[in-house]
Structure formats: structure tokens, C-alpha cells
Symmetry: C2
Subunit: 734 residues, 2 copies
């Protein structure tokens, strides 16, 4: 069901764009250089870079000065100038170059300390005393820098080893990586170092991947092509082993958590107890159907207890570290999808309950603490944004208004009262001030590229204070197409699926147009949203300018619709999704202005899998496809992501066989261009090259293009080349 | 200038094919499956497999029997049956399976010994005494088998080591290869073991390539893509080091020739002295401009002398081991291009002359023996076929009639009188009987697929005895195009170049047809010959059946035209060749039936280089090209071939820069499909992938296809896929 507000916006957008079309003669025609970030004439939507809270003071950096903004009237007061900063650096004999204040961060409310990060280090300067508070320099080659403002300490890595404050902590051989993200960035992991709340201790990941088979990527840009192998554990194969270390800055000692044999286990969602005495993490078995919330002693490494367990016959996917309440170090928030949607659960460590097995839906769980579910409903919490300590409120983002939207709410921990903090439109991102009384909110709606407002969160309901920015549409000078959204029923006949349709520029309802579907279709992504132009991608606009109807459908398995919707695809990825896309195609082919004999499809990654699947399984529908960086055979995808949805080739042979697109190669009837980044370490080139071989064996004729030097996507200036190639392929063949 | 005989044949062919066209309704249309050896309906031209001389007795094996052929009347007499052979094997408890007698070789004139080679070994059986004369078995994995009938010894290799009669001679680590061909099969080298004339000693190559950088080929057909690296010395880079060993069977001892430091030296054209006491070889410097004929003591390995030296400011290319006269062990024949064409020189080891430096053309040479030039003229000797000991004649093949032909001649060593032995038509290959009195000659002409005649060489001039086979055209049931040949002037305005033109099937002189050039253009290859259909390739016939004019021109640099013609391209390969091809294009575009706006080009390997060159340098001429396995940048090609023609990147930077097609990528205007075997170890995939990257950088749009599992060419059943892809590319774009 489409939310009413969205429907209203859809109509407004259409109207606005129809007006746009009336003036089309005066408007410019889109080019790929205008539309793509790597293009020569691309313009980002206006933004305020470096906007930040300094306690409850809003600080807005500009290139050559920094101002505070009065929250009552928006009045700006100069705080600092770039000349001051330069003089300060010079006075202290610091050889750092600060070309803009937009990257400068104010560290502590009330204190005049700023953090300057340059290529060579981190500098904390006091602009009042004109002195250097802290200086942490990094040698060449240092990366993954993690600065703790609490202790002014710095952690970083050089190659595969970890350093703190210039001291090398580990001296591991190739094959063991320390201080970097592990488990291929799954389970919400995106870094490898975790400073304790007071900055005295550093928890870090150590990953032994020496037992993982190397995938032979080749760099052809060398004098003689060079092997640049990556450790890539493929589904069902031997995987890496992760342990967690704890380094104490003062003593210089390192211990490792005593978690037992790490074989086939995932250690995720690391967080520190507020007192720094323990570390909490979520441990997951390789089958990913059993999560355990564990507490470890940070000094001894001993397990202190397993306080929550969750199981699901398909999988559980913990992605959020626990967060302690600022006003009560004994209570934390755990996020779980156990009732079918991601919600907030308050757990009290000072309580103890017998860990009985409970079940809800297909999930079962055991709680050792008294737990209160703070949010509930057929929508999901997306992020905890902050707290209001005095009012005991959690400020968070959720999809409560619509699965296409992200809106800001607060919930009172004591009363359970939930309040919406902004208009029920668009996709919002907010940063909360220190006290939680204010936030600034950067958001987009289908008709607004970016707007930044400052709110007072303490009033009842909506409390808009100031508008800091309303960005104009960077494409305002161009002829733009009509964009509409709606829902159709999934192949199960029950579930609503959201679609977006873009009509060709200068649309004539009496004409028949070729139609191209853009598809992703995999988990953790949603293509239709209440953001600018309903989330339409640049290339869709370009194709509309070339006379194509562009279509997109978020099939079952995609993001923000809850667990049942996502897990419909379990153990046979691509199959249900393709059935849903057939429903989308049928809808499209029934539109009076669509030429149903001219149907195309394009997608990348999971969308490349879907494109290939649709060209092979729906070969009565699609004539032309471009599949980029596709998964072809799930046995060639990595363990963490792949086995979550597919189990292993050993335990799910029929699923792997059913979804292996090589075995469907002989179904190819239309024109299918396979594109792959030759340095793709996410979805390795074996997928595309293996499919090509299968097609040769099956005596069918796909097309191929590779981008040497590019990884899992073609970015930068070469994106223009890619989209030109793709466009030309549709122009030539559809 | 075209030889008159060829002109006459050209007219006959045209007439025959015109008649063919009149009957076109009854004739079948060509398919790729009919035309390509990997195709399901391909038929080879009829042949007599295993035909051989048994002394002066002609023996014709069939599947189930072997007959002798009376040379006077052609009458066949049964010699052996397969039942006899099977009974013989059984009687002697040999577990060998002999499904056909076509692979059986009779070893010694007058003796009833036959050699049977199976997968597991070599067996010499006497069918009269019904006994086993010799049995040499090989373990699994043995390859490069070399059997000496003189000593009944066998040499073979397993992996990188050499074995003789079951004994392992060497135990070298990976990176050192023994008993196999070296120097990447250049300089006429095609094997690594050389039995002495009496079978007592084995000379062999040992190649240390441990210092050569590995090129990372990748096999994507494995569970996880696997590295399958090859040692590939690229132009200007560190190359391998070759030495020559000598193994004595009796003593079991091995010595190595004491040739000094092998760095940057080539050891080629190994031959044994008839008395087995010494080994002769030609040594060449890395710059390939100075060849030395050296004799080494086979017992001590010491250098006995350097007896001939030849230099050329561009290069010398010795490709033929010396051959001793059967009737005089002190005289041998050396082949040299020093006067501009490959000719026979008789050297007398019993003489000694002061090695003065002589020059002829650009060549200089020093002879230590008295030398007589046996053949001379603006044509070249292609092969020594045999000797007539009693008459002191050498029987050889040459291009004397025409550069497009190979004909058989004899020259009397004493009198110098030269006699032609067959009709002045076609391309002949002959095997000479033991006495040299007879030969059988398998040949093709533009209108004959294969004919096998037996000649008496002793009469004056032509002495045809019997016709053993006249194969019918395997394409006789198909509608075939008109094929013509002729000459045009090269870009130098002087040199005649041969072309072949094929008109579309059902040609209509009033129509305009698209024209596609097939090109190779590199050294050591000639595309237009007096063989069946003037050497037209299967795909040319197919394209003619699709309505294309097909054209081919042997530009300067190609085979069989002598040294000046070949060396016109020195140090800037592809440049002069492309200028010549422009002349070809101009000729073609002036034909009334050619649509000059629809010109295409295709070639593989050097022809892939030429195709790319023509698409970039002649982008005003060609709209569509398909370049297969191309050289793109000569710095990525190997040392032996590449440096002969290009010198090194260090000594010829301007030549390498001029011929690097990556730097011309921005010239691309038309449709260019790059195709490469992904396992290509001859012209590594870096060429095509590097060109693709250059095109992306230059913002131009080539197309790409790779054949995983295929090397420097796509053979077997997949050839049909390749030619279908190529044909479709021209059909879609030209």
C-alpha cells in the first residue's frame, strides 16, 4: 500500500515535470558527463560540509572560517578563521597544510580544542591558548587511522599490522591481518579498531586468513602482468579465523579474548562497557542461525557470560553493537529482528531471569536479563541517532511512515511514549546535539534534492527551528522526465511491491516506447525510496532522455520490508526475485505506451545476477540485457554473505544447482552484454568468465566487456565510458 | 608479376566456379559446421595416411592391411594384415592395441621389422620371425617421445626432466626444462632431443628459465580460479639460458657442451656429424645479427672451431641444421639467406680457407671452408627432401616457378645441373625413396584439393609414373564463390604484392557489395598460394556465401619473397605493412562492385595487430574490424621473435613507441571487436586487455570477447562459435 503522502507527492512531481517539459526548448539535454560524479560537468547538490555539534552549539565550517549558528534566529557568529589556524600551526612549528576548515572538528563542548587531520597525522590545537594539545603523526603507508579524542591516542595499520601512537603492536606474517575490518564487512562490521570509552584500551580484530585459498586477480597495467592475489573464502570452503585483541596503552600489554577455537565462528558488533572493564560482542555460528550476546573481561579475556541468544531456522543477522544508556551504565539497547522487524530492546544488566526458550514467529530466543521491547510494529528501526539524557529519550530513525521513508522519532524509555520529530515526508538523516535537545536533519524528498533543518527535539511533536539550506536541484537546467511510483502484487499474489516508472522526455501517450528495467533485487538494498526523484539513478534519467520508459521494482528479498519479505528467497537466491520481476514486466507490457516487443534489463552485482537470470529465465520477455559484475554461480561467492542466504554447496546442493546460471546458458535468446571490473575482489571475474565459457559450450552468443583496473563497479571518469557502452548496447540492439 | 601458368589457372577456376553457380539451386549453402575442422559436418580432403618408402619399395598402409605398390603399373600386393599384427602381439604377450595399420612404420629396407607406437610405448616387431625385436615402454605422463631406430632407444620427458630407456637423466627443479624445445620454437627449433646417426648418443637441450618473469595466466574453470603461470621473457627483459647436453647410452654419462656463459645467446640448428664424434650447431647473439656455425667435440664438449660466420645489420635467421652428403661425410649443405634468398651452399670440411670478411648486399660473411653455392636466383629453397647417392643429386623444394608455388627440383652436386621434377603448378610436398630414384608427391593446385603421384626422379625432366590419389573437392556439393588472384604495387611503388579476391556467391556485377579483408601480414606466413582456391580460408568462403567480397593481400614482410621484402618492416613492425594494405584497400574501393563505404578487416595474431593497426591508422577506410589474439604493444611480445624484428625497447624506443597501438587508441572510429584466447601463452592476454584499458582511457568504445580455455587460437568445436561471433559482428555493424 502506498502511503497517502507519497501519492500526493507523486502527483506534484509529475505536474512539476510536465511544466518542465513545456519549457523543454529552453532546457538542456542531459549528458552522461552531467549525470555521473566522474563526468566533466557533474554538479553535486549543494551541502554544508563539516556541520557539527559543539555540545549544544551548532558550528558551521566554511572554507576560510567557522561560525556558530544561533538556534533561535539562525544568526551566524564568527568563531575562527583559516588565518588564525594557519598562524597557530606556524607558531607551533607544525608543517600541516589546512586548505579548508570544513574538515576541522571541535572536540569538547566548552573547550577551544580543534582536531586537524592531515595526510601525516592528527593535531589537537587550542585556539585560545594557541598551543598544541596533542600531536599524533603517522608514517607513510599508514591507513585505517582511528583517533581517540578521550586519550588523544591514535591507532592505524601499515600493511597487515597494527600500530598505536607510533608503536608497532603486532608483527604478523602475510596471511594474518590485524586492526582491519574482518568477515568481509558483513554483520555491520566496517572497521577493525575500537577505542574504549575513556581511551585507555583498544580492542581490535586479528584475522588469520592464511588458510584461505587465494583468488588470482591479475593487474595487466604492469610492465609484465602481475598477480595481485586476494584471500577469498568461497561458499563451503575453508574460511578465515578471527580473534579479538585488547591493548592497554598505559601498560603496553595485549591480551586476546579467550573465546576458544575460532574456526567457523563470527565475532561481530564489538562494544565496550562504559566502565571499560568488559567488552560485549555478538557471536554467530558459521550457519548464521544462532547469535549469542557475550561479555568478556577486558583484562583477563575470560568469558563473563552469554546473556542473550537468538535462533532462526533460516538465519539471524545481528548488525548493531549494543548501546548503553548515557544515564544508566547498567542498561543497554539491543537491536533484533526476532519479531520480524528490527526493533529496540532495553536490557537491564542488574536483573537476572532464567533463560527460557521463547518463540515468536520462526524465531526463538533466550534472555538472561529483564528486557523491554521499546519499539514495535510492521516497520523497522534503522538507526539510533542519540539520547536526551534529561528526558530519558532515545532519538532514532525508522520506516514507520512508509518503507520508502526514513523519519526521525524519539521514544521515552520510562513512559514508552513515541513522538515523531519531523514531517512525514522523505528520507532523513540527523545528528543529535550533546544534550539531545537539538538535531540537524539533512533530508531529501521526491522533489527536493537536499534540505538541512535544525530542530528542537524537546517540544511536543514537530519543532522546526531554522532552515540552514535548501539545495536547488543540480539538474534544474535540464529537461527531465516524468517519474511515478506505485505498487503491484508480488508473484505470491499477496505482497505489495513498490515500483518506479520514468516516462521518456517529451512523452507522447499515443506512442509506443521500448522499456528498460533497472534491477538490483538483492538483500540490503532498496531502489525505490522517497528521496529525490524516488531514488532514480542518473542513467535512468539519461535513458528517458533517449526515449526509453525506465522501470524499477523492489522485489521480495530487498531491504526495509522486514524479515519474512527478505527471507522469501532463502536457499534459492534469484528464483523468487525473478518471478516477482516477471510480474513487473507484465505490468509494464500492459501499459499502452510500452512496446512489449522491446524490453530490456540492466543491473550490477546482485542486479547482474538478476539481469542474467531474467534474460535466461524470462527469455520470452526480455530481448536485451546488460549484466554488470554479476554473481553467476553462488559457489563462487564468499562465505559470509553467500552462506547466509544459500547455506553451503554441501548442505544445499539442489539450491546451488538451481541458481547456477551457467546451467541455464542455453536459454539465451536475446542480446546479453556481460561487464566486469577486472580487479573485482567482491564478485570475482570467474563469474563472468565462467558464464562466457558456459555460453561457448552451449553455442550461444553473449557479449563481453571488461574494465581493467576497476573493482566491483566502474567509478570515476570511466563511469561515463561504462554508461555510454551500456546505452549504445540498448540503442544498437533493442 | 604473375606467372603465366597461374594466370591460366585463375581463368580456369573462375570458369569452373561460374558453371557451379549456374547449378546453384542444386547446390548446398555453406555452413560453418561444413567449413571448420571442429564442425559437425566437416570433411577433410581424401588422403593416404601413412604412405611410406621401405627402401625403394612404396608401402601403402590401410586400416586393416598394408600393401606394396608396383612402381611400374601401380599394382598392389598385400604385405601384412591387421590380423597378422594382432596375432603377433598376442603371441608375444604384448598388451598393445593397434586399431589401424596407418600408423605402422617399416623400419629397414629388406628387413621385415615394423615399428608400432602406442600410448604406452614403442614396439619393434619382426613379422617374419614373429618375434619382438625391441620394446620400449613409457610411464604415464611421458611426452616428447623420440625413438631412435638405429639403437632402438627411446628418449622422453616427464614434466621438466629427461628420461632415456626408462632411466631418469636429470632431476632439475621447476624453472629448468630438459629435453624439450627451447627459444620458444624460433630459429627452426621444434624439439629438444637429437639422436646421433648410429643411435649411441643423445644431444638434448637444457633451458634454465628460472630467471624469467612468470606471466600469470589464470584458469577460471577450476573450483576456485587457479594461477597457471608461464615463464615468458618479454622484449628487453631477462631471458632464459640454454645449454646442450650429450648423453651416451652405453656409459650412461652426460656431458654439456663447453660453450661458455649462455646468457643472451641462442643455440640452434643442432646436427650430428655422421661419425657421431662431433655436434654442429649455429650460435646466434641476442641481437640476432651474427650467426656462427660451431663444431663441438661430443665426448669432451670442447669447441672444435667456428667455421662460418654471417652478419646482417638487420638480422640473420638460421633455420636449417646442416645436412651431410650421404656419399661424402666430409661435405655438408648449409642454407643461408646471405644473397637475399635462401639457397644451398656446399661446404667441404677437408678444405681450409682464410676466413676473410666478404660482403654481398647488406650481408657479410666469413667462410673457413671452401664453399660452392649450389642454387641461386631471386627465389628460395624451401626444403631439402633427399638425395640420390648414385647420381650425386640433391632433391629439394623451391619457389623458382613462382613465390606462390612449391615445386620439386634436383641439382647435381658435381655438375651443378638443375632439373625440375614436376609440372609447374601448385604446392608440392614430396617424400624421397632410400636411393633417391623415386618420390611420392602430395600436392594441391588452385583447382585440386589433393593429388598424390609417384615419380621416377632418374629420367630427364618430368617422369610421372603413377597417380595414387586424386581427392575430390570436399566442398563439391556446395555453392562456391569465384576466386581470383593478381598483383598490385606495394606502397613503395615498385614491389609486386599478390592478392586474392573472392566474389560473393551469386555475384551480380551491377551490385555493390561490402568488402572484408583477411590479413596476416607478418613474417613467415603467406596467405595467397597456388594451393586449393589460392589458399582461401574457410571463413572467406563462408563470408562470400553471405554476400561479402573477400580480399587478402600479402604485404611486404611476408613469406617467400626474400630478405629485402621481409626486412622492409624492420624496427617498426606493422607500419609499412599497413601502408601496403592501404594500397590493397584503394584497389578494392576502385572495383565497381565494391561498396567503398562498407569495408571490414579481420586477422589473428600478427593479423590481429594488423587489423587493429588498420582500424586505427586507416580509420578513413575501415568501418568494422575483428582483431584476434593481437599483438598490441611489442614490449609485451617475447624476446626471440620480437627482438629479431624490433630490437629491444632499450635500443629502439622510438620503434616501440611508434608501433604501440595503445597510443593510437583515440583514433578508433569504427566498430572493433577484440578477441583473445584467455589461456594464450604465445600472445598473452595483456595485449588485448591493455588495449581495452587504453581505449577506456581514450574514451573510445571497442568491443571485447574472450575464450576461456583457449590458447593462441580457438580450435575444435569452439571455432564454430568464434566464426559465428565474428560473422555476426560484420553482419550487425558493416
Amino acid at each position: 500500500m502506498i502511503h497517502k503522502a507519497l501519492k500526493r507527492i507523486a502527483i506534484l512531481i509529475s505536474a512539476a515535470l510536465t511544466m518542465g517539459n513545456l519549457m523543454a526548448q529552453e532546457l538542456k539535454t542531459l549528458t552522461l558527463d552531467d549525470l555521473l560524479p566522474g563526468g566533466e560537468t557533474y554538479r553535486f547538490a549543494e551541502n554544508i560540509y563539516g556541520l557539527q555539534w559543539w555540545g549544544d552549539v551548532l558550528v558551521k565550517p566554511e572554507i576560510d572560517r567557522m561560525v556558530t549558528v544561533d538556534l533561535k534566529n539562525g544568526k551566524e557568529t564568527e568563531l575562527l578563521t583559516i588565518e588564525q589556524v594557519s598562524a597557530l600551526l606556524k607558531k607551533n612549528n607544525l608543517d600541516a597544510n589546512v586548505p579548508t576548515l570544513q574538515n576541522v572538528q571541535l572536540l569538547w563542548p566548552g573547550k577551544t580544542q580543534m582536531l586537524i587531520r592531515t595526510r601525516t597525522g592528527f593535531y589537537v590545537l587550542d585556539w585560545k591558548s594557541e598551543s598544541v594539545v596533542a600531536k599524533q603523526e603517522m608514517p607513510r603507508g599508514a591507513t585505517n587511522a582511528d583517533f581517540s579524542k578521550e586519550g588523544y591516542n591514535i591507532a592505524y595499520t601499515i600493511k597487515n599490522n597494527l600500530f598505536v601512537n607510533g608503536k608497532q603492536l603486532t608483527d604478523e606474517p602475510e596471511g594474518i591481518v590485524v586492526g582491519q575490518s574482518v568477515h568481509r564487512n558483513e554483520f555491520g562490521i566496517n572497521k577493525g579498531t575500537f577505542w574504549s570509552p575513556k581511551g585507555n584500551l583498544l580492542a581490535f580484530y586479528r584475522m588469520d586468513e592464511s588458510m584461505v585459498t587465494e583468488y588470482p586477480l591479475v593487474d595487466i597495467d604492469a610492465r609484465i602482468a602481475e598477480l595481485t592475489p586476494i584471500r577469498y573464502p568461497m561458499a563451503g570452503m575453508t574460511s578465515h579465523k578471527v580473534t579479538v585483541g585488547v591493548y592497554e596503552v598505559k601498560s603496553g600489554k595485549t591480551i586476546y579474548l579467550d573465546a576458544g577455537d575460532p574456526t567457523d565462528r563470527y565475532f561481530t558488533n564489538i562494544s565496550w562497557a562504559p566502565d571499560e572493564k568488559s567488552i560485549w560482542l555478538v557471536e554467530l555460528n558459521r550457519d548464521q542461525n544462532h547469535a549469542k550476546l557475550c561479555q568478556y573481561d577486558a583484562q583477563t579475556g575470560k568469558l563473563m557470560g552469554v546473556f542473550y541468544e537468538e535462533e532462526h531456522p533460516k538465519y539471524v543477522e545481528p548488525e548493531n553493537p549494543i548501546v548503553f544508556l548515557p544515564w544508566d551504565q547498567n542498561k543497554f539497547i539491543y537491536q533484533s529482528e526476532r519479531d520480524g522487524f528490527n526493533h529496540l530492546y532495553l536490557m537491564d544488566t542488574q536483573t537476572s531471569v532464567y533463560p527460557e526458550k521463547h518463540s515468536i514467529g520462526s524465531s526463538t530466543y533466550k534472555e538472561s536479563f529483564k528486557t523491554i521491547q521499546l519499539t514495535k510494529g510492521n516497520w523497522l528501526v534503522q538507526d539510533i541517532l542519540g539520547f536526551n539524557e534529561s528526558k530519558k529519550e532515545i532519538i532514532y530513525a525508522s520506516t514507520e511512515v512508509s518503507p520508502l521513508q526514513t523519519n526521525i522519532y524519539k521514544v521515552n524509555v520510562k513512559t514508552g511514549v513515541k513522538t515523531t520529530l519531523n514531517d512525514n515526508e522523505g528520507v532523513h538523516r540527523a545528528q543529535v546535539s550533546a544534550s539531545g535537545s537539538y538535531l540537524f536533519d539533512s533530508y531529501a524528498t521526491p522533489s527536493i534534492a537536499r534540505k538541512i533543518d535544525v530542530y528542537d527535539t524537546t517540544g511536543k511533536g514537530l519543532a522546526k527551528a531554522i532552515n540552514l539550506l535548501t539545495a536547488e536541484d543540480p539538474l534544474k537546467d535540464f529537461a527531465l522526465p516524468q517519474i511515478e511510483m506505485g505498487t503491484i502484487k508480488a508473484a505470491d499474489g499477496v505482497t505489495d511491491l513498490y515500483y518506479r516508472i520514468i516516462k521518456p522526455i517529451n512523452f507522447d501517450a499515443n506512442k509506443k516506447y521500448p522499456a528498460v528495467t533497472y534491477v538490483y533485487g538483492g538483500p540490503h538494498a532498496q531502489n525505490i525510496s522517497a528521496s529525490i526523484r524516488y531514488g532514480a539513478r542518473a542513467w535512468e534519467l539519461y535513458m528517458a532522455s533517449k526515449g526509453y520508459v525506465m522501470f524499477c521494482l523492489d522485489n521480495r528479498g530487498s531491504e526495509n520490508r522486514g524479515l519474512v519479505f527478505e527471507q522469501a528467497t532463502f536457499r534459492h537466491l534469484g528464483v523468487e526475485e525473478t518471478k516477482d520481476q516477471r510480474k513487473g514486466a507484465e505490468f509494464l507490457m500492459n501499459l499502452p505506451y510500452v512496446d512489449k516487443t522491446r524490453m530490456g534489463v540492466h543491473g550490477w552485482s546482485f542486479g547482474g545476477h538478476m539481469t542474467t537470470s531474467m534474460m535466461l529465465r524470462l527469455n520470452d520477455v526480455y530481448q536485451v540485457g546488460v549484466a554488470g559484475g554479476p554473481v553467476i554461480d553462488w559457489q563462487w561467492y564468499e562465505v559470509m554473505y553467500g552462506e547466509r542466504y544459500m547455506d553451503t554447496p554441501q548442505t544445499n546442493p539442489e539450491g546451488y544447482a538451481e541458481t547456477n546460471l551457467r546451467s541455464l546458458a542455453s536459454n539465451l535468446k536475446g542480446h546479453l552484454l556481460m561487464v566486469h571490473g577486472y580487479q573485482d575482489g567482491t564478485c570475482v571475474p570467474q563469474h563472468t568468465l565462467g558464464f562466457i565459457k558456459a555460453c561457448v559450450d552451449a553455442k550461444v552468443q553473449p557479449d563481453l566487456f571488461l574494465y581493467p583496473g576497476h573493482q566491483h563497479g566502474v567509478s570515476g571518469k570511466d563511469a561515463v565510458h561504462l554508461y555510454e557502452k551500456m546505452t549504445q548496447y540498448f540503442e544498437d540492439n533493442l
